[in-house]
Assembly symmetry: C2
Homo-oligomer: 206 residues x 2
Amino acid sequence: MTMSTEEVNNLKHAPALEGVLPLFLDRWSSRAFADRDVSRADLKRIFEAARWAPSSGNAQPWRFIVGVKGSETHAKIAWALAGFNKDWAPKAPVLILGTTNAVNSRGAANAYAMYDLGAAAVCITLQAEALGLVTHQMGGFDREAVRKELGIPESYVFGSVMALGYQDEPAALANDDLISRETAPRTRKPLSEIAYSAWDQPAVLD
Amino acid sequence: MTMSTEEVNNLKHAPALEGVLPLFLDRWSSRAFADRDVSRADLKRIFEAARWAPSSGNAQPWRFIVGVKGSETHAKIAWALAGFNKDWAPKAPVLILGTTNAVNSRGAANAYAMYDLGAAAVCITLQAEALGLVTHQMGGFDREAVRKELGIPESYVFGSVMALGYQDEPAALANDDLISRETAPRTRKPLSEIAYSAWDQPAVLD
């Protein structure tokens, strides 16, 4: 017997720390998407959150290609997915391909193109979470195929393909491997491995 | 006469859209930092938010060097700042240098190193905002100098230097150029230039 949606969300929840927004602790990357559309109003809210993300020199280099289920764009993005992503992600009602302009307005390389795209993308995931939606970003897709199919210029590079929609029960997943990933606890490095007061000296935060 | 803190925050606030978290709309990058320390408890909350950010293959490639005012690390990061960043950022009680491991656990390039760091960094800015703190990320600093001074290995690349602290009145800034930047409205591309249903076709979100 697999876990219910509620049980799996409880399992995935990061330990609470007073004062930390629950948004950061609740968010996790489900692969079980229900057969339920995302409203246009929610899509607008999600991209509005991304729109106000900070970027280097306010370049806002990001450009998101949004495939809604049933559209040619959704089909093309789904088709380009690699490996086991094909087993679950095409079911998501929205697939978003994140791209970013690696060339700045002066024609030089933008060293912050990927950095800024990552920031805008996580704003999407957090705003989605606030709307009761779930997201899952994937790096496994055929970049050259999707570039050709969608006619994306060479100056744009790729971030992730993000699946967006409503969460389904783990049991709705296609196979046991997916169910077992869905119901495994989340893991992270301890704070002492991410915040330092000098290169080799963990910051004292307690 | 310059604007008060309240006036400038009202000016910088993005237009509200029902259902979008105010957090995304309120956040902006002030340069006016008050002479007031950030508590250790708040630093912990901020890095806890970053800790649970998503990353490719859950690699969590980020590593933040946190310089608290008065420390050698703060002085070294402040010293490496370029141009007019030197006129305001050293006043911030905390300077955070974001670094990320560009080499993955198999010794190959991690194409998502900067993307993931950007995501974790914006979680820091949003959690800081929730705590009543302000942040400002800078790309203008001498990377080789700071690498040498802080002993950062070659495999790590740099994101931003982030100033973190409490906001001060615009008039507290050192010169008119800074005050004029501080009191200028925020600008962003319209939604039709960031969300597309195909490469050249803006998504219909209304």
